[in-house]
């Protein structure tokens, strides 16, 4: 190995205020950026400065996809192979790139969803998004040339997306002109308990997937202000088919920050984190400018808006691990560990980040909180459902893929046909996945189902993070399933047995059935594995990783049975 200079890394490590384990992931990401991998010497230096045992550093490096123990090439290309991009030929692009790996200083990696699902297939070239890529235009791709992402969005009742069209979310100035921070101002004039009540009464349910009542979480994590409480905005958006958080960060970031500050006031927190997935480099840049601007205008820091509220927000980057979207795994990640989810209880509201009470919410949830406060919840009174609107990520074989803000209860078919314009190229509707890779195939008799939590729950479905992936009738069921099982095989953290082994065996069986057809016993195997994962896995990832397979079995059981000779 060529000798490397550790000087820049050393300087970076010196810059940390907190020279402890919590700074591990930022340090490793920096080393990866500096050296294109993490050399042993760099790991040893980090170990010494942050007082983390070397072997733990190795364990962390080896856990996260964005950290490498061997150098990546000059052109490091991450191609999305999740169902939507895969159905548009991304596997072929991976093959083509692999073919030139040696001579073109290219390293290629198949990754699962980059949040660019409206422009498939997509890739990151040295962390920059490139969309609508093509196996015939490899040269351009290697150079990072290609279409930039287009973020289209529409809404019947714009609340969250209210500033999108006018681009009022662009700067702090325009944000405030459009009513921004009036919610915080109002919150600061209220009793903390009243703020929590307002959020509780709004009926807001978490938008990350679990749909837990946000106000209740605030109430349980609230402390008297003398003990530590953390606020975390979960922007580790990685569920295949989800891109709403990315667009919200780009289009209306201050609303997210405002929601965090309001919550900080409500629960008595002095420190917040926003954990943004590592693949969202430009969103991280965007948000760090937002924080800086807010700090300059006394909207963050000490004595916010002249009140006695002190609150700081730090950005943390993910490093390529879907599991870190799971709240406790995210805590582990901020603490400088492998992203292993924790057993619950204890729940985050009692013992979360650093063992302290923590109120963690999705990007969309925080943004929504700012709107609840600024509008006193009155604006949503004219909405068909009391809990307001939500963001739907529509992608796949659809004429107008994009982000749609629609009232709860909007029928699924309306989203697809009226808003999405129906199936691309006048094809027939093949299948719909609701809720992302951890969601289900929707049975055809439920295509008109109203998209609200109660109706979906009754039908055994969940809208999760608001993902609607649509496939035309040329897309084989098993191909989609293969991409999904491959995703979970790649993203299971490996901590608990059902998920570690179940995700692999699921993928092996599905991929074999896809190639060779089913054998006797396959259906039962998939059911046993799936039910065991669902019933016995440690965290939400494992508990839902087999949902798609199980739903496919109930829709098309014959696909998984050996043909009768």
């Amino acid at each position: 190995m060529d000798s490397i200079s550790l000087k820049p890394l050393e300087a970076f490590l010196e810059s940390f205020e907190d020279k402890s384990r919590t700074s591990l992931l930022p340090a490793l990401l920096k080393a990866q950026e500096l050296f294109r991998y993490i050399p042993e010497e760099a790991a040893m230096l980090i170990s010494e400065k942050l007082k983390v045992p070397p072997v733990h550093i190795y364990g962390v490096i080896d856990f996260y996809s964005l950290l490498h123990t061997e150098p990546v090439e000059q052109h490091h290309i991450q191609v999305c192979v999740s169902p939507v991009c895969s159905s548009r030929g991304s596997h072929k692009i991976v093959e083509a790139l692999k073919g030139v790996e040696g001579d073109r200083r290219v390293s290629v990696e198949a990754v699962h969803c980059l949040g660019l699902c409206t422009n498939p297939p997509s890739a990151l070239v040295n962390n920059r998004p490139v969309c609508r890529i093509n196996a015939d235009k490899i040269d351009e791709l290697i150079e990072g040339k290609g279409a930039p992402p287009v973020n289209s969005s529409r809404s019947s009742h714009p609340v969250l997306t209210g500033r999108f069209a006018s681009d009022k979310g662009k700067s702090l100035k325009s944000y405030r002109e459009s009513g921004g921070f009036s919610g915080l101002e109002k919150a600061l004039s209220m009793e903390r308990g009243d703020v929590i009540d307002l959020v509780k009464n709004s009926g807001l349910l978490g938008r990350g997937g679990a749909a837990f009542p946000t106000g209740l979480k605030e109430e349980s994590s609230a402390r008297d202000g003398n003990s530590e409480v953390f606020i975390i905005c979960n922007a580790d958006e990685s569920e295949p088919g989800t891109f709403k958080d990315r667009i919200l960060i780009q289009k209306d970031p201050f609303s997210i920050l405002e929601g965090m500050i309001i919550t900080a006031y409500a629960v008595g927190s002095r420190k917040g984190y926003i954990y943004i997935r590592g693949e969202y480099a430009s969103e991280q840049d965007r948000f760090s400018r937002v924080i800086k601007e807010a700090e300059e205008k006394n909207l963050l820091g000490e004595g916010i808006m002249g009140s006695d509220l002190n609150f700081h927000v730090e950005i943390r980057s993910g490093a390529g691990a879907y599991i870190c979207g799971e709240e406790t795994a995210l805590f582990e990640s901020i603490e400088g560990n492998r992203g292993f989810p924790r057993n619950k209880p204890p729940y985050p509201v009692n013992s979360g980040l650093f063992g302290k009470p923590t109120d963690i919410n999705n990007v969309e949830t925080f943004s929504y909180i700012s709107h609840i406060l600024s509008s006193e919840g009155t604006d949503s009174a004219d909405l068909p459902s009391a809990s307001g609107t939500r963001l739907f990520c529509l992608s796949g074989d659809i004429k107008r893929p994009g982000l749609y803000e629609l009232p709860f209860g909007t029928p699924l078919s309306e989203v697809i046909y009226q808003w999405g314009g129906g199936i691309l190229n006048e094809g027939g509707l093949g299948s719909i996945i609701l809720g992302g890779a951890s969601g289900s195939f929707v049975p055809p008799d439920l295509y008109d189902i109203p998209l609200d939590n109660q109706s979906l729950k009754k039908a055994g479905l969940s809208m999760g993070s608001g993902v609607i992936m649509v496939f035309d009738d040329s897309r084989p069921f098993l191909s989609i399933l293969n991409d999904i099982t491959s995703f979970f095989n790649h993203e299971s953290c490996g901590k608990c047995y059902p998920c570690r082994m179940g995700t692999r065996l699921n993928h092996e069986i599905i991929s074999r059935i896809r190639k060779e057809g089913a054998r006797n016993g396959d259906l039962e195997k998939l059911q046993d594995i799936g039910m065991t994962m669902k019933d016995a896995s440690l965290c939400g990832l494992g508990q839902t990783a087999a949902t798609a397979v199980l739903s496919a079995i109930s829709l098309e059981p014959d696909l998984f049975k050996a043909e009768v000779s």
């Binding site: 072997v55 364990g59 082994m501 046993d528 440690l538």
Partner: protein, 211 residues
């Protein structure tokens, strides 16, 4: 200390407040199988073999870390529980050599698991690593219970020679950058051997005697 009453498999059990379901069950002689559990280590709750069905809970709960509540109704042998246990054992059999894991072999028998069921057509054999004078690491037998890492880290030795590396199915026990043990912080206390349930870690003399 306050006493809690709960029902396990229809039997009323009284136990001290703060007990786990596993502890409560053992008080009554109700056997719940475990794999990653070890009396003197913090239960990591990762093997999920000790899951039980608790009335009102959406999923099965690991009895080794679930604290009893007054009036809790627990079933340790429902069809859901049995399916999970049997499947976990079948999956383990497909991914590790359990021939020197007598406790697991016993469980396989007890739950009627078919060790061949998920076994891949081509088995990938990893050879034992013999890189030091004292003990051998045969990760073909490793079930990733993580006890060796626990004792090497905070739980006993604080030598920090081992970690779980990789992710998902490709997780494995490793040293710093996969180096041979003598080049690491390993002090060869062998306390990891003591807790290894499958013979993946073994004194070299025993290993040489066995072959």
């Amino acid at each position: 200390m306050k006493e809690i009453s709960l029902y396990i498999d229809g039997r009323m059990v009284k136990c001290p407040e703060g007990s786990t379901i596993l502890e409560a069950a053992r008080l009554k002689g109700i056997e719940i199988p475990t794999i990653c559990f070890h009396e003197s280590l913090t239960p990591p709750g990762l093997c999920r073999q000790c899951v039980v069905e608790v009335e009102g809970a959406r999923v099965l709960l690991p009895s080794c870390i679930t604290i009893v509540r007054e009036g809790m109704v627990v079933t340790t042998d429902s069809p859901r529980v049995l399916r999970a246990r049997k499947t976990i054992l079948e999956m383990l059999s497909a991914t590790a050599d359990l021939s020197e894991a007598p406790e697991l072999e016993q469980q396989i028998k007890a739950f009627g698991a078919d060790p061949q069921r998920f076994r891949p057509e081509e088995e990938i054999k990893t050879g034992p690593i013999v890189d030091n004078p004292f003990y051998v690491r045969d990760y073909g037998k490793c079930i990733l219970c993580g006890k060796c890492v626990q004792v090497c880290s905070e739980e006993v030795q604080l030598s920090y020679a081992l970690t779980v590396a990789g992710r998902g199915f490709d997780s494995r026990i490793s040293t710093f950058y996969g180096k041979p043990l003598p080049d690491t912080s390993c002090v060869f206390c062998g306390n990891c051997i003591e807790v290894c349930p499958t013979g993946a870690l073994k004194p070299r003399k025993e290993f040489e005697n066995d072959i």
